[in-house]
Symmetry: C2
Amino acid sequence: MLAIGTLSRKTGTKVQTIRYYEQIGLMNEAGRTSGGQRRYYVKDLDRLAFIRHSRQLGFSLDSIRELLDLSDNPSQSCAEADSIARRQLRQVEQRIKRLQALKKELKRMVAECDGESVAECKVLEVLRDHSECLTNHDEIGA
Amino acid sequence: MLAIGTLSRKTGTKVQTIRYYEQIGLMNEAGRTSGGQRRYYVKDLDRLAFIRHSRQLGFSLDSIRELLDLSDNPSQSCAEADSIARRQLRQVEQRIKRLQALKKELKRMVAECDGESVAECKVLEVLRDHSECLTNHDEIGA
DNA sequence: TTGATAAGCTACAGTGACTTTAGATAAAGG
DNA sequence: CCTTTATCTAAAGTCACTGTAGCTTATCAA
């Protein structure tokens, strides 16, 4: 039987985060000692590792819930898991695209700044006037 | 005098977001009509446009606060604004790096999936076992 | 057995940057 | 005057946690 701190150390997850996962139903309710402390089996550790690894790859908790459901029913088709992963890939690719446009714009901004007074600051000027931009970068947080 | 909806349309900002910016002190408190509705000047519109454009470039509201302060005091050196922009650029570059590592891993995952049953699903297998990964991708949300 | 220390517990508030909802009031046009 | 559209406040919800306060339990050496 493993204590919560052991799971924490083995997966690099904060203790509070593990309790949070239990609270939102991503982890099963753990058994308790007579004193009320949580105790885990190795299968719980595996499940937590799966969750954390998926998070590291950028999957949302909702996607992870789906993936765990699939993982728990080994007779189903793999197509669903595949499509979740592909969706995640598309999202990542879009974010990269957008960030690369931002990078370009920011680079231009700081390159044209010559350390003069704020009155002629290129950085502030660009921020004031979108029309000086090369790209549209219209959506925030996409 | 401009109504809040006009600012909303002209800057592509939701009405609630404008009120939120007022609430956290990023926008000045607007004047009111006798009936209690907010009315704005063109300078308020400009300020909002500055905020939104900065957000589109990924600056945090805290950074934007600093940039607005600088913009309001045109006699200062531009160095501060420059350093904020450079910091932002570094952040963007780091995020791109991390996302490119994720992209690589996700691509490999879906490429190796052949639509078999969940039991042999490569996607789930990789999620289960981090050691199958090429990269470390250790930090979440970096 | 005692006592110290580490680890764990609950419950709730805070983060960032908004978005959503509910229910009410104001303004504008015909 | 009436209807429609716009606006108002206040509070809760989002995502995925993190942090805090104030306790209680477990473990190990002396």
